[in-house]
């Protein structure tokens, strides 16, 4: 039993943002039916990381991750029968998730202007790059271009202005953020629907999601309380914080308060170079020269240290020093193991592997990776019956091509 048992979700989405939203719901027990094109299925089936395997479209680690606990129903909604089938399905759903370009929903016969009249209890969420009425110069978008429209891109990484601005971590951070926002809205809408019986149309703009994530800075900038400018360092904070090489990788140090400086002194064994610094320089006299000098000494020392060991010692002294973890470190993290962040999933083609679960532990209704991502059309038989769609109906809708 989890929190969203009994909630019916139709996932029309075919990219990372919508599929991640669906996953967030499915891992809490919602029944998520993923509509896929016969023959090829969701485009995310063709995106990496691909595991070695023989079955085309069934070896994507991305798809496997994004679609745990979902059911796949393959039929072509672009045929007249398919459109009728989709319409019938809508009447049985609590939630619809889409993440296509703005005109797509209309093209498959879902008109947002009258959906609330037609299906008053339906919660429909549309995730797009720039909202549903983008200007002509924002019609075509990928996660990279949205990230760079939001302010994050230009200022990534911090402290850099000689090389090109970067994309952020991984390929899909923009989409994960938008999918998360969508899931929050959908569940909030469901909460209210429990008493009102009314659905809702929700529109999530990826650009606005990302821009809202920098509200602490952007909110001050639009109010005139923080300087704006064309500098790549405009979001930055002064100070010696940063990533430093260690013997076995990298560590990140944050220092902003006298307590951090005291802890650093203990960690380093009270070196004489620190005596030249005023005691409260981090707060009051944080000059670029001092930052550079401090960084030089810290860098030299950290190169003799191992990242996990030095972090454990530093943390106990009150210095916020942490390892810069890679994927292997995460799997080996005793904290992740304690919290069982990775869980084994057995996939019929990919076999057994550890998947990331969710970052929240709910005492009564924990999220669960109960079932692997579906094979393309895996649930046509069972869903066809359940939804009273005859085999002939699905075949007519291009089930097999």
């Amino acid at each position: 039993m989890s929190a969203l048992n009994g909630i019916q979700v139709l996932e029309l989405a075919e990219s990372v943002g919508g599929e991640y939203c669906g996953k967030l719901l499915a891992d809490f027990g919602a029944a998520v039916i993923k509509i896929e094109k016969p023959g090829c299925g969701s485009p995310t089936r063709r995106l990496g990381p691909q595991a070695t395997g023989e079955r085309d479209g069934e070896c994507s680690g991305l798809f496997a991750y994004l679609n745990t606990n979902k059911q796949s129903l393959a039929f072509d909604i672009a045929t007249p029968v398919g459109a009728a089938t989709l319409d019938k399905l809508l009447g049985r759903m609590d939630i619809v998730i889409d993440d296509h370009a703005v005109d797509w929903l209309n093209n498959v016969g879902i008109d947002l202007e009258n959906i609330e009249q037609k299906h008053p209890a339906l919660v429909l969420c549309s995730i797009t790059a720039f909202g549903r009425t983008p200007p002509a110069e924002r019609l075509y978008a990928e996660d990279l271009t949205v990230f760079h429209s939001s302010g994050w891109g230009y200022h990534t990484p911090s402290g850099e202005d000689s090389q090109p601005p970067l994309k952020g971590a991984g390929r899909f951070l923009t989409s994960y953020e938008a999918g998360l926002e969508a899931a929050l809205c959908v569940v909030s809408a469901l909460y209210e629907r429990e008493t009102s019986g009314l659905g809702r149309v929700i529109e999530v703009s990826k650009q606005e999601v990302l821009a809202s994530r920098i509200d602490y800075v952007l909110g001050q900038m639009i109010a005139g309380d923080m300087d704006v400018g064309t500098a790549r360092t405009q979001f930055d904070l002064a100070g010696p914080a940063g990533i430093f090489p260690c013997r076995d990788g990298y560590a990140y140090i944050w220092m902003s308060a006298p307590g951090h400086w005291d802890a650093l002194r203990k960690l380093l064994g009270n070196p004489t170079w620190m005596d030249a610094f005023p005691e409260r320089w981090l707060e009051r006299e944080c000059t670029p020269e001092r930052v550079a000098e401090c960084r030089r000494h810290v860098a030299a020392w950290l190169q003799t240290q191992n990242k996990h060991e030095v972090a454990a010692v530093a943390q106990k002294l009150g210095l916020t020093l942490v390892a810069v973890n890679n994927a292997k470190d995460l799997f080996e993290s005793e904290q992740y193991q304690f919290r069982k962040f990775f869980a084994e999933v057995n996939h019929p083609v990919l076999g057994s592997a550890l998947y990331p679960t969710v970052p929240y532990k709910l005492s009564e209704t924990p999220a669960q990776l109960a079932a692997p991502a579906p094979l393309l059309g895996q649930h046509n038989d069972v869903l066809g019956q359940h939804l009273e769609m005859s085999r002939a109906h699905l075949v007519d809708a291009g089930e097999r091509q």
Binding site: A3, Y65, S158, A169, E177, T195, Y216, G219, L362
Partner: protein, 409 residues
């Protein structure tokens, strides 16, 4: 810009999906307050418990007027503020009384703090059995490393993000230093809402333990899968993308940058044509994605050379007209001047208690029957009389007594 008049409606009658939901925040800085802000923007009545003796650093950072602190104002619009000294027994009892009349409690205090204060889940649950208690910590509340603390960039480093951001072959450079808190807050808000929905359907509340570090890993789940399935440890790779080329940020005239992402061969043909190099589209070195990936250094050089002396806005229009995904890499001046963000009311003005208006950053959604967002961040203790009087039913004399005793300072 539309200026919204401060609503005369009570905070708990602003519409939106969470109208009627009451949230108590025991939070600091950005991550916890961001979770509360999202719930407030969805219509909930969100109450920040504050005290002169333990002010949030965002109320004091760089300013003398704690009621006009820009950072605080940016992250706390549409909330209520009540003054209660959590370090007194009476204060703790007041908070428990308030929680009895609330639905969700969110805390992101230092590890162990709520236990020391006497506001841990077991105690709160005894007072309010069906409370949703959301605890936010760098590593979660339990486990061998749960004693450790850090700021946002630490979450990104520990969660695996920083290692992925940087230039190919170089040291990790990390995400922007501001990244992590707001994402962590959103994740806490989502989990809280799942639990609240469950309570509405079952009557049962629960404890939620959210990890900032794991929240970060959730933003790179697919990269982590590469290690799980293939043993591959992903490293920083500039702007590379396995399924797109070109995929990068290229220099333009005047120090501007343009981001361009090409997935389909058809888009590459358009780009080659716009560049005045149609022959590249059929050149065996670039005609397919695999070929472009194999020759990506040279490909990036070709694109950079073409963009370098051109105007970024003109390039974007040119590329978009032919179906190529492209956008200016927006600096902070571009952002606050983004016409679409203003036209869509993403930036809109709210009114503070002194009548002054101030623009705030909206949420990432629009929805039918949405909540009214028209009030600025609260003054310290602005809602003391509403909360002590209307919610907790204390008489004016009782409130005066508490104030005199320093419990509600």
């Amino acid at each position: 810009m539309s200026v919204k008049t401060r609503s005369e409606k009570p905070q708990n009658m602003r519409g939106g999906p969470l109208q009627g939901v009451r949230v108590v925040e025991l939070t600091k800085v950005w991550a916890g307050p961001y979770a509360g802000k999202l719930l407030a923007f969805l219509g909930a009545e969100v109450i920040r418990v504050e005290s002169e003796g333990a002010l949030d650093v965002t109320r004091t950072y760089g300013v003398t007027d704690i009621n006009n602190a820009p950072g605080f104002q940016a992250v706390n619009p549409q909330k209520l503020s009540v003054q209660i000294d959590m370090k007194t027994e009476e204060g703790v009892q007041l908070i428990l009384d308030l929680v009895k009349k609330s639905d969700i409690l969110i805390e992101n205090l230092r590890p162990g703090a709520v236990r020391r204060l006497g506001l841990d889940y077991a105690t709160v649950k005894a007072a309010k059995p069906d409370i949703i208690y959301t605890s936010m910590g760098m590593y979660g509340t339990e486990g061998p490393l749960s004693y450790q603390t850090g700021y946002a960039p630490c979450f990104a480093a520990l969660g695996g993000l920083s290692a992925l951001v940087g230039y190919a072959g170089g040291a990790p450079a990390g995400m922007n230093i501001r990244y992590a808190d707001s994402t962590f807050g959103t994740i806490a808000a989502y989990a809280s809402m799942v639990a609240l929905l469950h309570r509405r359907r079952s009557g049962v509340g629960q404890f939620i333990d959210v990890s900032a570090v794991e929240s970060m890993t959730s933003m790179i789940g697919d990269s982590v899968m590469d290690f799980s399935l293939n043993g591959v440890i992903r490293e920083c790779d500039g702007n590379r993308h396995a399924e797109m080329a070109p995929h990068g940020v290229y220099p333009c005239r005047g120090g501007d940058w343009i981001s361009v992402a090409v997935a389909a061969d058809s888009a590459w043909r358009e780009l080659a044509a716009i560049m005045g190099r149609p022959e590249l589209a059929t050149d065996a070195q670039y005609s397919t994605l695999a070929a472009r990936k194999a020759n990506e250094v040279e490909l990036d050089r070709l694109v950079s050379t073409w963009t370098a002396d051109r105007d970024v806005a003109e390039l974007v229009v040119l590329l978009q007209r032919r179906g190529v995904a492209a956008a200016k890499s927006q600096n902070s001046v571009d952002l606050i001047a983004d016409q679409q963000l203003w036209a869509r009311d993403f930036f809109h003005a709210v009114t503070n208690s002194d009548g002054a208006t101030r623009p705030v950053v909206g949420p990432g959604w629009t929805m039918s029957r949405s909540a009214d967002i028209s009030a600025g961040a609260p003054r310290l203790g602005e809602h003391n009389s509403y909360i002590f009087g209307d919610i907790l039913g204390l008489t004016v004399a009782e409130q005066e007594q508490l104030a005199a005793a320093g419990i509600t300072r």
